[in-house]
């Protein structure tokens, strides 16, 4: 029979239930305390252990036992302080004495609902399997009949259009003396921007730390002004610093308006003082990572700066409703919203909605296709990221982006509107580090541009997160990298200049890779949008579903 002490622990979890188990080496540890200090969730702590030490002195064996108190680093078994596997401890350890190890047999989700609160986190879908887009290959290589281009030396124009392109039949053009002129009474010509086809997707100030956001913004400005790459970035729902909004850099930003309208009072009041129009307005109706949910910024992230930018009191939970409260129907309310936003900038700025990937995307698409003011449709697939959501939304809800975009594109082709309404693909671009390849594949399936969010956090700011639920603490405000926190003690770890530098490196590298992909296809002047004959998949079901070639 077990002793009473054992029975008292019967309702405790063992470490085997935990997703990450700390491997700590007594012999290497100098007890400096850095690991326990840095752990964002206090999953490890210094603890005294009583050891029985057997030793012998002198020339003849004469074992003696002695009890000693030693200090160890111990992992706690409190589910609320589970080790997230972020590895901050390993990073700070001077002696390689500690490391979290993934436990594939964990039963974490079975227990992570204490207090009746389901598991909430940041990050994205925990599914390390390669996504569909990662399984697509570029199989048409020009060689003899159509010589390949030289990715290094030929001129490439890797640009796309954001905004609605009129059908050629509707262009207000007149031929006069062998020359075409634009007729002034020709009606509305929608605004269109020429941008780089990889954009930085919507991540708000608030969700991101000031240093992270600043780093991204500086990187984007550098790419535009020094590298000549018109990369644009979306603000997310959280406004934009007023000084930036009024500056000449505003043109590199897409302002997002979402169901909480956070920051928009400030933006609307700043419009008369703006010197440049923003790149576009994104109306967020849904998010791929958490379909059906609104944005959420926890109270402890709402510090003074955030409160000022968003126009709200400090330290209150900022929950955006799942839908726009004014939304009645797509034919009416959504159309009105698009028109109102267009009107705010004198119809000079493209306005488009962003929805989460869904089976109903085509219904949305067709409404937008008939709305002359809709500038694009952005679809955010299930592999998209978020700063805070219920795990169930992230893991189990949403629609893969590949077939969603493909269906929408082919639907537009059937209507002859494939060039009118650009499709923007988001969610999982660069999931396994192949940002350019993912972007190229989506473009060949029919997207005009792609958004990247989580990848840029990983690549530019050393984010620990992965698809095995590593770290994913974005929602707690305790991001160990200083990316998604408003705690100055944490975000001062992140140097905005270095983030900016990485953003530039990432985009320049992706640009080279895009050329490497496009050159053998023989495409250089315009993007290979819808050039699906260049794609192949080894999986016959993927090939059939996406209407591309099956290659084995």
């Amino acid at each position: 029979m077990d002793p009473a002490t054992r029975l008292d622990q019967n309702h405790e979890l063992s470490l085997k239930e935990f997703p990450y188990i700390i491997r700590w080496r007594d012999d290497r540890c100098t007890r400096c305390g850095r690991c326990t200090a840095v752990c964002p969730v206090s999953a490890i702590e210094a603890a005294p252990h009583v050891h029985r030490r057997v030793f012998s002195e002198g020339t003849v064996p004469s074992p003696k036992a002695q009890r000693e108190i030693v200090h160890v680093v111990r992992q706690v078994t409190d589910i609320d302080r589970y080790c997230t596997g972020c590895g901050s401890c390993t990073l700070v350890c001077p002696n390689e004495a500690i490391e979290p190890e993934y436990n594939p047999r964990h039963k974490f989700l079975t227990y992570k609902n204490r207090g009746g609160v389901p598991f909430r986190r940041g990050g994205r879908r925990n599914d390390p399997a390669p996504s569909t887009i990662d399984q697509l290959k570029f199989t048409r290589i020009s060689m003899l009949t159509d010589p390949a281009l030289d990715a290094g030396r030929h001129e490439f124009r890797i640009r796309t259009l954001l905004g609605r392109n009129l059908p050629p039949e509707q262009l207000p053009l007149k031929a006069r003396g062998g020359r075409l002129v634009v007729s002034k009474s020709g009606g509305f010509i929608p605004p269109v921007r020429e941008i780089y086809p990889i954009r930085i997707g919507s991540m708000s100030i608030g969700a991101l730390s000031p240093h992270m956001w600043e780093g991204l913004a500086m990187g984007v400005a550098y790419l535009n002004e020094v590298e000549g790459m018109p990369v644009v970035m979306c603000t997310g729902e959280g406004g934009i610093p007023p000084r930036l909004l009024k500056s000449r850099f505003a043109k590199y930003f897409i302002l997002q308006i979402a169901s909480g309208y956070f920051g928009w009072d400030e933006i609307v009041h700043a419009i008369p003082e703006m010197s440049e129009d923003p790149a576009a307005i994104e109306i967020k109706y849904g998010q791929g990572a958490k379909p059906g949910d609104g944005g959420l910024l926890m109270a402890y992230k709402v510090l003074k700066l955030i409160a000022r930018i968003r126009g709200v009191p400090e330290f209150v939970d900022l929950a955006s409703p799942p839908t726009h409260q004014t939304k009645y129907s797509i034919e009416e309310a959504v159309a009105k919203m698009i028109q109102s936003m267009s009107m705010a900038w004198g119809f000079r700025v493209p306005v488009y909605p962003k929805i989460s990937g869904t089976k109903t995307a085509m219904a949305v698409l067709n409404n937008l296709a008939r709305n002359p003011y809709a500038g694009a449709l952005c679809i955010d697939g299930e592999d998209g990221g978020t700063g805070a959501a219920y795990n169930v939304s992230m893991d189990k809800m949403g629609h893969p982006i590949a077939s969603n975009i493909r269906d929408c594109y082919l639907d537009l082709v059937a209507q002859g509107k494939q060039n009118e309404l650009p499709l923007i693909a988001a969610g999982g671009m660069g999931k396994t580090g192949n940002l350019a390849a993912n972007a190229a594949a989506m473009i060949m399936l029919g997207a005009s541009a792609v958004d990247t969010g989580k990848y840029i956090m990983q690549a530019a700011a050393w984010c620990f997160g992965d698809e095995r639920n590593r770290c994913n603490l974005c929602n707690t405000g305790r991001c160990p990298r200083g990316i998604t926190t408003q705690d100055p003690k944490l975000y001062r770890r992140l140097d905005p200049d270095r983030v900016a530098e990485r953003v530039v490196e990432v985009f320049k590298a992706a640009d080279v890779e895009l050329r490497k992909i496009f050159a053998p296809l023989g495409r250089s002047t315009e993007l290979p949008i819808g050039m699906s004959d260049a794609l192949g998949a080894a999986d016959s079901e993927i090939a059939e579903r996406l209407q591309i070639s099956h290659v084995v």
Binding site: D146, N165, V192, G522
Partner: protein
């Protein structure tokens, strides 16, 4: 002679010939549509039945006076090679030209559908003042076979291609030149963006944008689309297939229009390698290149007689007594244009139109 110009370079796989501004026995039928094609006996019966039912009245038929001593085409001698001149159905004679053209197109597509499965009937063009002849085999031998030198076929504008489609199974509908409502092109090269261009054209809702048995057929249809459907002057064909960059557009006086065109016609951009030679219904002939990979192409001649050919040796054959220093090889931004009447060779450049 047009075929002779190619004897240096052709791969001997076929003959494609479109003749415009006709003389000889067609001279007196100016303005009346000519249906060109190949048919088996059954195909010809189907054709005649169809045309009769539609109210077309056949008033003349040209058939080549085949030289039995010449080698036969590779795919065997067909029952009938023909170019038939018709009177329009009574109902259409006073209709606007566009409606008449629509009727001709509908008839050609219907005939194509009639004979396509069994390959009993191929119709290549049905349009006033244009004759098309296509066959598989050595082009010079085919020339002898059809006795092209006998003078029964005469034309001021001749588009000739000395080979069949090269990359896939040989098929007559894939053979250059491609003709649609008076617009005609032939191309040297390969079209990388065939899929998006085809998708864009077929989704324009115009029945003639079909076929696409060759990736080069789209060049004729882009020309038709920009010039006829959209009403752009011919030089904009170049701006559509090889659009300038945003910065280059600023150099142009018509930059504002150009920017709109570039955006709205983005799917029609080609990346080559292509050299396109063609003509429009008014008899303007031209040559353009893609903007990067370029295929050989040279234009030259004397007033009244110009040639647009792939290789210089062809030009020497066609117009030996010309000033060679005036030969023009269109490059990235260029378009060689020969206006109706062939009085001059215009060198148009995309960048210099202030």
């Amino acid at each position: 002679m047009a075929l002779n110009t190619m004897k240096e370079g052709h791969d001997g796989s076929g003959l494609g010939l479109v003749l415009k501004d006709l003389g000889g026995e067609f001279e007196k039928f100016k303005g009346l549509p000519i249906l060109s094609g190949i048919a088996s006996s059954k195909g010809l019966r189907d054709l005649e039945n169809y045309m009769y039912a539609q109210g077309f009245e056949e008033i003349h038929m040209w058939q080549p006076d085949i030289d039995d001593s010449a080698p036969e085409p590779e795919t065997g001698r067909r029952d009938h090679y023909f170019a038939k001149v018709y009177e329009l159905p009574q109902l259409y004679r006073d209709r606007p030209r566009k409606e008449q053209e629509e009727l001709l197109l509908d008839a050609r597509l219907a005939l194509r559908a009639l004979g396509e499965d069994e390959e009993s009937l191929f119709v290549f063009s049905f349009y006033p003042d244009a004759v098309t002849l296509k066959e598989v085999g050595d082009p010079l031998e085919l020339g002898r076979f059809f006795r092209l030198e006998d003078g029964s076929l005469q034309a001021k504008i001749v588009l000739a291609q000395g080979r069949q489609n090269t990359n896939y199974d040989i098929y007559l509908y894939a053979c250059h030149p491609f003709f649609l409502q008076g617009y005609c092109t032939m191309t040297n090269g390969e079209n990388t963006a065939f899929v998006p261009i085809t998708e864009f054209l077929t989704s324009r809702g115009f029945p003639g944008y079909m076929g696409y048995n060759s990736d080069s057929e789209v060049f004729a249809h882009i020309l038709h689309y920009t010039h006829r459907q959209l009403g752009y002057p011919l030089t904009y064909y170049k701006d559509v297939i090889t659009p300038l960059s945003e910065q280059e557009i600023d150099l142009r006086a018509d930059g504002e229009a150009l920017r709109l065109i570039r955006r709205s016609l983005r799917p029609l951009c080609i990346d080559g390698p292509n050299c396109v030679i063609g003509f429009t219904p008014d008899g303007t002939a031209f040559m353009v290149q893609d903007a990067k990979k370029l295929r050989p192409g040279v234009a030259g001649g004397v007033p009244g007689k110009y040639a647009l050919v792939s290789e210089e040796c062809g030009l020497d054959e066609a117009v030996p007594d010309r000033d060679k220093t005036q030969d023009f090889s269109p490059m990235k931004y260029d378009m060689a244009i020969i206006p109706p009447g062939a009085g001059e060779l215009i060198r148009w450049n995309q960048l210099h139109t202030k």
